[in-house]
Amino acid sequence: MAKKKDNILSGIVVVDFSWVVSGPVVTKFLGDYGAKIVKIESQTRPDLCRTNAPYVGGKSGLNRSGYFAFHNNNKLSLSLNMKNPKGREIVQRLVKKADVVVENYTPGTMDRWGLGYEALKKIKPDIIMLSMSMLGQTGPHANHLGYGHELQGYCGFTRITGWPDREVVQPFGALTDYLSPAMGAAAVLAALEERDRTGEGAHLDVSQAEAGIYALAPVMLDYFANGRTDMQRGNADDACAPHGAYCCQGDDRWSVIAVTSDAEWKAFCKTIGSPAWAKDSKFKTVLGRKENEAELDRLVEAWTVNQPAEQVMDSLQKAGVAASVVKNARDMIDDPQLAYRKYFKTPEHPEMGPFPNLGPCCLLSDADAEESPAPNLGQHTDYVCHEILGMSDEEFLEFFSAGAFE
């Protein structure tokens, strides 16, 4: 493997025990800007995402999952048998060279492997360990199990989503899975700054749930101050109208429109051809538009329904009014703004061929994101042992024969 040019985070070595989504997205964000992420994997207990559809060619396989590949780019994969003492010895040697260890298991799991924070500290006293479980390392429910899909509801996201005349709906996906990692990774970098200044490492306890609730602080304050606990506004906004999703031409095509000022309302009316109804005085003010919102929405939709959503978006944005196609996955792959920012790196994956990955957390003026694909399971066992651990061929063979890498 050729020596890569140094990137912003190239000085950081991360031993990555995490799996599924939240932990792996932490390490992906760090790997995107050059951190050496050594993902510890096992043939017998693979990352659950490797066993999730969709698969390339519709055929399942540990190296064929699109779900896994999407957020596991820019990492090295080391296959280890953690039940084998020779396998555990490799982990210890890795930790000696590492700055950070990341895991998102149920509390106690790493301790059972002899890799809890106290044990890691003995190997490398200034190690930064990020433990990012669902509910945190301590507390009566710390060992409760589940996934981000359920956890996001626990955080309060479900009770603030839906139409006022219907039952709640859960927001799509697993919001905490992709929100908490950005915050966890920021905490890791803060701890590294502290280490560089004081020489001391740290054990970071980030609860995915707490990260989500912390982010929803205004909703919590509304309860503590005013006793309110629910919020289902559909697509309406308290402060402006029109504000919503409007049906456009075609199959399940929509455009959102948000008119946030009187000036924008004037521009909106002009763009839709200054129809008579728009001149009605009841729509002239924000208050008036809010009070007559239902009627206003019907009139707006009578205009959008005969046009492609793209046209609604383009014509309104040109006039200075916020609008967007409600994009689906196909729209996203072709999105011109993401393309301009080169968001979807599409490197050649060893088994899947060219496959798009989630981009980095942001763009930087003086650094480019890495462009390696997600790894096959154990793809870098050789590289990690030789290049990072400095093993000789004989040593490597010893570990191999002892079953350390199975």
């Binding site: 964000f29 999730n52 969709p54 699109g66 507390g139 009566p140 199990l145 899909h149 359920e150 956890l151 509801g153 309060g156 009770r159 839906g162 139409w163 039952e167 709906v169 799509f172 996906g173 992709y178 929100l179 915050m183 920021a186 905490a187 970098l189 803060a190 700054e193 502290e194 004081t198 970071l204 980030v206 609730i213 912390y214 929803l216 205004p218 919590m220 304050l221 503590f224 005013n226 919020m231 402060a239 999703a245 929509w254 959102v256 948000a258 916020a322 609008a323 689906n328 996955a329 011109p336 703004q337 920012r341 968001y343 798009p356 989630l358 957390c361 942001c362 930087l364 003086d366 650094a367």
Partner: protein, 410 residues
Amino acid sequence: MLNKYRVLDLTDEKGMFCGKILADLGAEVIKVERPGGDLARNIGPFYHDEPDREMSLFWLAYNSSKKGITLNLETKDGIELFKQLVVQSDVVIESFDPGYMDKLGIGYAQLKKLNGALVMTSITPFGQKGPYAKYKGTDIVCTAASGYMYLTGDADRAPVRMSFPFSYIQGSAHAALGTMIALFGVRTNTKGQHVDVSLQESMVPQTVNSIPYWKLSQSILKRAGQLRVGVGAGLKPRQTYRCKDGWVHSTIRGGPSHEKTNVALADWMREENCADEFFNSVKWGTLDMMKIDQDFVEKTEKPIAKFFERHTKEELYIGGVQRHIDLFPASTAEDLSKNVHLNARNFWVDIQHKKPDATMKYPASFVKSSSANSRVRPAPRIGEHNEQIYTSLLELTHEELETLSGGGVI
């Protein structure tokens, strides 16, 4: 943790959460507002529903742990003072339209000349450059543009947005991380960065596997209300169930790795005679989601739904914890305030305000470090730290402060 960094925070509602994260990681974050206060202080709801620029709960929440000064960037004096502050700061965060800071003479290219190690983090709907860079973006627009909004809501209605500006949170979290990445770079090679965060782009990860599904099987995932989509064989297992006093979240997953939770739920249901013949015939250990059909899924879910309706969310949650079942309540804010686990972890901290004259509970920091932890502090009142910052950092005299204040600069 990072207690030596100074951050000048010029953001509006799109980016205020970024500075909050950095402040709770230990940075000194100074919110820079126009004289009279940020426009974002007009965002409701307010404390006791009294509209007051110092009682916006949204503003108080995301600007807690920060200091606050006022400064008019549309005056020559204001720009001069800002530049002097930049020379003594490590980070500037802003969320103005692309180009606005440049027009004022304090864009990245200009500030870089004053402070080569400066990290400037810009948060905008679509990014600094590109075909959408000049487009207007509110939360509903950024969320729709990201592909995320399409995926939520009932199948027979328009896609629906969360009744909360989630893209501002997600983008701000990305901005905090981007800032920390850039600061790491400053420590290793003293070169600053312009961090360019797009709210649209930051929301793309939240679409989970919908893009892989399109790429690999040419299928477009569509919203399905309380059902879950993106499950192998096009199945739609339920994810939100009604219960006695609200809703809970639980969903059927197959394979040996989910056998335990499925069996534990089945056992509990049997204890209460809620399992029917079909349900009892399901072999959880070998359940393969790729080999069953929607009819099978619905037949399995029927008794589960009946069982959940007999219980409150608290009963189901606690039962789930005790029996190791993947089962969570759809919490209200009230539920969270009373949550035994969160309280045991001291997650709710009392913050005393001068305005409102009240003590309110806030979430504690999102991270607990074994080393140093930052305390959550009340959000600043308008211009609260003017004297402290201007006299100590810029050595302005009180006469100068008075002149500048009277002249609308501070």
